[in-house]
């Protein structure tokens, strides 16, 4: 058999590794800033592009797509070439993949702090960037599939099936969840509304966890752990079963983010059942990973890389047990909207994704620079400080979650809430937020130690060169030899059919859950009194989205006695039919806002948004002073916005659209009139008029400023339905 010589592309791996490390530092530092903002809420007072609500999506997007994303590409490009004994199909596509991805990250870093956001979690990037993501992802997929077709190793090893499933599923998820109608260059509305948007969002969101944070890393685990331990995977049979059951079951788990919400019961129950079933394949993967080390556990004692892998896989096992537990409705009733969920996320992210990546980096960099790691001691130190960081991050937040959930639910014997003021539940968990910030600091410190170690290693090593390899081309097998071969090995030689089958497997769950929710009208009972937002309220809603309020406030009152007592009537699906996108939220750092309308007067909101601590002592909410600036709110897009809404099914009439500016002016004037009820407001308002005159600035009346639109929106929330009070006759 004639040997063919070729070179593995190491340069592309190096590029992705460096990008991974740099953006890891950036993304985690933003996370640390957020953690510190919990403790010092006025840290960036007055600076709109550094406020919590705008930085939160920057953190999530950076750590998921920039840190983990680049790690995925680095590991996939490295392992795929060697498992298939071929160079990547196209250097051009490899580089487009790399540079395109980094450009997307830069676009995110610019647009998110400026408030250009869809508000949908892990999908906040607006529509032009969504298109770019789809294109670059396609480039990645084509490069990958063509490489498989060019291979010199006949069997497609399990790691590569995970990469194929990743590519196919992320493409579907991203495209369907990002379906949005543009209003302008950087603003769009989701084609889905309310309950449907929630379901599609969490079909996407949970499967972003499954197919971006899990499956590629399982693929990397199946390559790197055997490589580093120099042992074959524990059970190849198990890996086959593990693969198919994981990708099939995972898709259905999305509704576990929506338990006890207005999502129809049948969808919630499917989410619960499949989430619990998911323990089996997830732990199959964990078992396979850990037991690969049987016989070589003594190596873990001395090898920092294996230490990272062991904690990573263990963390994966923990998170994939905790997740199904959190999917049980009774557990979820306690955990949802609390810091328990944040703890859960970070165990998975810091241990599984972070540590798997660090192990991979510590193994790859010395090999590619043909030298030893600069300091094994520092790598071990990183391991220990990182592990400690994970523990100090997660444990305090578990306690915070339990504490806050219990406090929310406590009743006095006379039926009133013990902690009627939401703030009391926040003040109680401040010490836990301090500890979490310390935990995060330790974790980041570990990463900085990695950066130092890597720099010193690269400095001492040789320039990264492509690696020479040789292997015979794939021979054509005579059909006689293929007689009686098993179905899966037949499939393993046919990557296209394999891809199509994986696609079918992952589509089933989505189709079964999503199509009935969209098509069957009875799933979201119509409420006659629910009307579309007025033009000013629509604009105010867009301000709410811009500032990322959904990151700390929910708009979904669950059908629990304690929530009804605290927030008002529980939320009905029919109330959200005009909400493009939905704003149910995932976390209550602050109280639920679904029925905040008419709860406080306009002055309260005016004072609260300027300086939350003035109306609510002890509040950790930052102020939004830039919304009060002496400049008119930009209403130039309101007609376009309403037209897009009409296309999406919201029943604005042509007259409504024609009258939009007039309606805005009237509604604004009414709010401004209400504000005059407060003599303090009148005094400072008159003063600011004088100041503007002195400065030679044109004075913009309060009705035309951004804050008025936001107040209009807040005052509308939850007022569409009126619950009749019935008097019980004893």
């Amino acid at each position: 058999m004639e040997m063919q010589q070729f070179y593995y592309d190491n340069k592309i791996v190096k590029k992705f590794l460096y990008a991974c490390i740099i953006f890891g530092v950036v993304g985690m530092l933003v996370g640390l800033i957020l953690a510190i903002m919990f403790l010092f809420p006025n840290l960036t007072d007055g600076i709109s592009f550094l406020s919590f609500g705008r930085l939160r999506p920057l953190h999530t997007n950076a750590v998921i797509f920039a840190f983990v994303g680049n790690a995925i590409f680095a590991g996939v490009y490295y392992s795929m070439q060697r498992l298939l004994k071929t160079r990547m199909y196209s250097d051009l596509l490899s580089n487009i993949n790399f540079w395109g991805w980094q450009l997307i990250i830069v676009a995110a870093a610019i647009t998110l702090p400026l408030g250009y956001s869809t508000s949908k979690e892990y999908a906040e990037l607006e529509w032009p960037i969504d298109i770019a993501i789809a294109l670059i992802w396609m480039v990645f997929g084509i490069n990958m599939i063509m490489t498989i077709l060019k291979r010199r190793e006949r069997h497609i090893y399990v790691a590569i099936w995970f990469y194929i499933a990743t590519f196919v599923t992320v493409a579907i998820l991203h495209i369907f969840n990002s379906l949005e109608l543009p209003v302008s260059g950087l603003k769009s509305y989701s084609v889905y509304a309310g309950v449907q948007d929630a379901l599609v969002q969490w079909w996407y969101g949970h499967n972003a966890v499954a197919f971006f944070l899990t499956t590629p890393f399982l693929g990397l685990m199946y390559y790197f752990v055997p490589k580093v331990a120099n042992r074959p995977v524990y059970s190849y049979r198990l890996s086959i079963i593990h693969f198919w059951s994981l990708i099939f079951i995972y898709i259905w788990a999305g509704p576990h983010h929506l338990l006890y919400t207005a999502l129809p019961d049948w969808a919630q129950n499917l989410g619960v059942v499949f989430s619990v079933m998911l323990i089996a394949p997830s732990w199959g993967g964990m078992i396979n990973g850990l037991l690969t080390l049987r016989g070589v556990w003594d190596k873990v004692r001395t090898d920092a890389v294996l230490k990272f892998f062991v904690v990573a896989i263990t963390g994966y096992g923990m998170a994939t047990f905790e997740g199904p537990m959190l999917s049980l409705k009774n557990v979820n009733a306690i955990a949802h909207f609390t810091d328990w969920i944040i703890a859960h996320v970070h165990v998975g992210a810091l241990a599984w994704n972070g540590f798997m990546t660090f192990g991979m980096i510590y193994w790859l960099i010395p090999r590619m620079t043909k030298t030893k790691l600069y300091s094994e001691k520092l790598a071990n130190f990183h391991f220990w400080i990182g592990t400690l960081g994970i523990i100090l991050y997660a444990l305090p937040l578990y306690v915070a979650g339990f504490t806050q959930a219990s406090m929310w639910k406590q009743f006095n014997p006379d039926g009133t809430l013990v902690y009627g003021n939401f703030l009391e539940t926040v003040t109680q968990i401040m010490p836990m937020y301090w500890m979490r910030a310390i935990g995060g600091t330790l974790y980041v410190a570990g990463l900085l130690v990695l950066v130092y170690n890597v720099i010193k290693t690269v400095a001492a090593g040789s320039k990264v060169e492509d690696e020479l390899a040789e292997a015979p081309a794939l021979a054509v097998i005579s059909s006689k030899r293929m007689k009686g071969e098993k179905w899966h090995s037949w499939l393993e030689r046919r990557p296209i059919q394999f891809t199509v089958l994986s696609l079918v497997a992952i589509l089933i769950g989505g189709i079964i859950q999503i199509i009935p929710t969209i098509v069957v009208k009875s799933n979201i009972p119509t409420i006659a009194s629910v009307k579309p937002y007025t033009p000013m309220e629509l604009e105010g809603r867009d301000l709410y989205i811009r500032e990322g309020c959904v990151g700390c406030h929910s708009q979904m009152i669950r059908p629990f006695r304690s929530e009804v007592e605290r927030y008002g009537e529980y939320s009905k699906g029919g109330e959200y039919v005009y909400d493009h996108p939905f704003l149910w939220g995932s976390k209550r750092t602050g109280p639920d806002l679904h029925r905040v309308g008419a709860k406080y007067n306009d002055n309260w909101h005016f004072n609260h948004m300027w300086d939350p601590q003035s109306t609510s002592p002890g509040s950790i909410m930052p102020g939004y002073k830039w919304m009060y600036d002496n400049k008119p709110m930009d209403y130039s897009l309101i007609e376009k916005k309403m037209e897009v809404m009409v296309t999406l099914g919201v029943p604005y009439t042509e007259e409504d659209i024609k009258n939009a500016r007039k309606s805005i002016d009237e509604q604004g004037a009414l709010i401004e009139k209400n504000l005059h009820a407060d003599p303090d407001f009148v005094k400072s308002y008159e003063e600011s008029k004088k100041n503007a005159a002195t400065r030679g600035e044109e004075f913009v009346p309060m009705k035309d400023r951004e804050i008025t639109a936001l107040i209009a929106y807040l005052q509308r929330l939850g007022t569409d339905i009126k619950v009749k009070e019935t008097v019980q006759n004893k």
Partner: protein, 49 residues
């Protein structure tokens, strides 16, 4: 589709497909010879870097 009446046929069909698929998968997985399985598991260890 205006109501959800009769919807149960769809999850039943999908459960049947799911069940059948995994039964067949298990049958196939356990019919693989030990020698071949070991070969497949050794793939990442085979290459010379």
């Amino acid at each position: 589709m205006d109501t959800i009446v009769g919807i149960e046929i769809y999850p039943i069909i999908s459960l049947s497909i799911f069940f059948l698929f995994f039964v067949l998968l298990l049958v196939w997985v356990f019919s693989y010879s030990k020698e071949t399985i070991n070969e497949l598991g050794d793939i990442p260890l085979k290459e010379d870097n």
